[in-house]
Amino acid sequence: MKKKSALAVTAVGAALALGLSACGGGGASQSQGGGESAAAKHTMNAALENVFNPSDKKGGTLKMAISEDWDSIDPGDTYYALSWNLIRIYGRPLVTYNPAPGAKGRELVPDLAESLGTPSDDGKTWTYKLREGVKFEDGTPITSKDVKYAVLRSLDKKTFPNGPTYFNDWLDLPKDFKSVYETPDVNTDQAIETPDDRTIVFHLKKPFGGFDNFAALPSTIPVPKDKDTGTKYREHPIASGPYMFETVQTGKQYTLVRNPHWDPATDPIRKALPDRYEIYLGVNADDLDNRVISGDLHVDLAGTGVQPAALGRVLSDPQLKERVDNPTGARTWYIPIVPDVKPLDNVECRKAIIYAADRVSLQQAYGGEFAGGEIATGLMPPSIDGWKRIDLYPTGTGDLEKAKEALAKCGQPNGFETTMAYRSDRPKEKATAESLQQSLARVGIKLNLKGYPTSDYFTLYFGKPSFVKENGIGLGTHGWGADWNDGFGFMSQITDSRTIRESGNYNISIKSPEIDKLIDQANEETDKAKRDELWAQVDYKVMEEAFVLPIVWSKSVLVRPTGATNVFVTGAFDMYDYLNMGVA
């Protein structure tokens, strides 16, 4: 899913870094400092594998902010990681991620459902049973029909364009069904059945072993049909979780208060500690960092780390560095190598690029070890279940001998010329392109750099195969984050050649019938371990065929809140878990 990528305006950042360091720390007052928080000691990465400042103390207002806005608070219309993390305070999907630090946070646990899904033998039918006594914020009982309706409505991408399309792609929908609004009377039981108020049965077109991950999508959060107002539902989504919206000011502010009809007895995973949430939108990114540092705000909702302006200060001030958590995310920044463009149709020429690249310099382009990430050896990041280290290529400053060998095998012993696309308004990507240009020049590969605007990068330029081919663009650069942390959640959208369409593609280079076949095998496999193993093979194949030059597995520099309890980085989203955070 999308992670809010910081609009890094480096010039601003640099100016501010100067200004702020001159202002001497800005006084990080522990405004919310309570008695309990004194027990927990800040040390770097303290909240990566452990719960920092655990507590069951109720009350207080949790203050969160974000520099932009995310797509939507409507559970049927959202694709942001932070949103999937946060949404669970007001909505209960059938299944969710275990609120626990580190890898434990990637485990699925039943939420609205009593237990994880029960598959049929062929893996095409999945059944869930709802808990007893669950209610909406107005006191109406939640039934399986509300879950069915929620899933069906989210299929209407004209009304809800933002969310993922897994249910659209996998549910066995009747041909004449268009949307819950246009064809309300079409019987959809062949896709979702609700034999009684507590039971819901999903029928898939083809077997899928990892369906519990679908059941954890926000679109399984129940929506009462009579309260559904289409695009306007986002003005007040009806709560099934412990909090409900008090005010919704799009683009400005959300406030949430306790939902009186949420019964803790029905909910073994939520602590529901704060009395109130205040969420500020559109807060200046640099100001936001300063406020989190000073304790005026608890969390930067985006969960992608501090801005360049605060970065230097946070990493150099020993007191602030103790408050840093530096998780590796399920996101890889990489350079697709497009096999459609000559001479990159030859695998040896593609390999030459990987061999010749200065991997350390590329890591620097992304901000180095802490803010950038670990040098990636494969496309798949280590936090994905089943990940295996691939050692096909060196990760140093480049192996020029091997690169020349590969060039010779490719029939281009003196190198060749190609074009590289990047997003001109993203300084890191520009630096990446420049770094690669320099390192490839060492073996005679000449790169012409071409910057394109972010807004149309995928729709008009590097995500449009016809454009890429016509303009002979052999390389580009961008990143990809997992929808959830398994092979399918990370890889399926960017490795399956059959998903490539006319424009708007994130995968432009990985086209291999062998890989497609592995993907099909993985999807049919209901045994998780075997499935994971198949996805690891996909990763290996991608590297073997040299379809991408991976740069880093992204890391982010998060600043731990001073006034909050139960602070930990969940492996599900690689940011602080928003489900059980409390106010100290």
Binding site: K2, L16, L20, E68, K158, L288, D456, L460
Partner: protein, 337 residues
């Protein structure tokens, strides 16, 4: 005078229509030149894994398949007569002036703008008062004490004021005054004037001063230059020859003469500010028209861009008209025609 105003107003409407056409065209023409199809355009407004079918649906919903003229016509009709929008679950009225529904937030644009306008107006008015007082006073004193320590110090600060970007002064002052000393409100604080005027002012004081600092700097320089010029005019000598006290000579004769160009510039500055103090609002996280505009442009949200452009253009056009009228008032030699 009456016919002049009417003529100017008609011209203003015409001007706004032209602005709307140009904005509309830029939005469509630039991507078209880059080879975008309606599908490509729609691709910006779907989730990242949308199928071709979903993109087509979205293109249809946003009306990208119609000829540009039809799309423009639909927009302009909405402005004058209102429009109806499909929410999926039903049909929503958007009364005139309807600047359309955002492609992204799915909110009608006009109420959003009106909701944000008070913030921008608060910011602009408060800052304007401060910078007019500060800038003009400094400029006058500087001009009268030309070459003095005060003059040199003031002009030095003014130079810094003009050249320091607001996101720098803004963030720095937040760090010092709000998070360090705790004497001002943190970024993003806003209380409507009608709710609590004291809190309103308390929350706005830092954005006001920061923005005013920027403008005061240039107004001080402007006033200083104007005063130096007028104070050497013959009519100043005449005023002194009459036996007027020096204070009266400076204010009533000198400043009055120096003020005319300032009125013009102020009118335009203020008009533009009402269309959104982009940097100040972004820096202080104020949800005004300016931040709305930045967001709209970053997200390529045509209806929002159109709405904000029209609002800004409207303010600028009106400010221009008022400035011209005012000019005739302050300078009797100017004839309106």
């Amino acid at each position: 005078m009456g016919t002049y105003i009417i003529r100017r107003l008609i011209g203003a409407v015409f001007m706004l229509i032209v602005v709307s056409m140009v904005t509309f065209s830029i939005f469509f023409v630039v991507p078209r030149l880059a080879g975008a199809t309606p599908m490509d355009m729609a691709n910006r407004y779907v989730g990242r894994a949308a199928t071709a079918e979903i993109v087509a649906d979205q293109a249809e919903r946003l009306g990208f398949n119609d000829p540009l003229v039809v799309q423009y016509g639909r927009w302009i009709a909405g402005v004058f007569f209102g429009a109806e929008y499909d929410t999926g679950a039903g049909v929503e009225q958007c009364p005139a002036p309807c600047f359309g529904y955002s492609f992204i937030t799915r909110q009608p644009v006009w109420p959003d703008l009106m909701d944000r306008l008070p913030v921008t107006v608060s910011l602009a008015v408060g800052a304007a008062v401060l910078w007019l007082i500060g800038g003009i006073a400094t400029g006058v004193v500087s001009a009268l004490k030309r070459g003095s320590l005060f003059d040199r110090a003031a002009m030095g600060v003014a130079l810094a004021g003009v050249s320091l970007p607001i996101f720098f002064t803004g963030i720095a002052s937040l760090v010092v005054f709000s998070y360090g000393l705790g004497i001002t409100a943190p970024g993003g604080s806003y209380t409507p004037f009608t709710e609590n005027p004291v809190e309103w002012a308390y929350n706005m004081i830092l954005p006001w001063t920061t923005l005013a600092f920027l403008y005061a700097a240039s107004y001080a320089r402007l006033t200083r230059a104007g005063m130096l010029e007028t104070m050497s005019e013959d009519y100043i000598r005449t005023a002194r020859a009459k036996g007027l006290p020096e204070s009266k000579v400076i204010v009533k004769h000198g400043l009055r003469g120096a003020l005319t160009p300032i009125v013009t510039i102020f009118g335009l500055d203020f008009g533009l500010l009402l269309g959104g103090a982009v940097l100040t609002e972004s820096t202080f996280s104020l949800n005004g028209v300016g931040k709305y505009a930045v967001n709209a442009i970053m997200k390529n949200d045509l209806p929002q861009i159109m709405g904000v452009t029209m609002l800004t253009a409207f303010f600028v056009v009106i400010a221009n008209l008022i400035v011209d009228l005012l000019y005739a008032v302050v300078d009797p030699r100017v004839r309106l025609s």
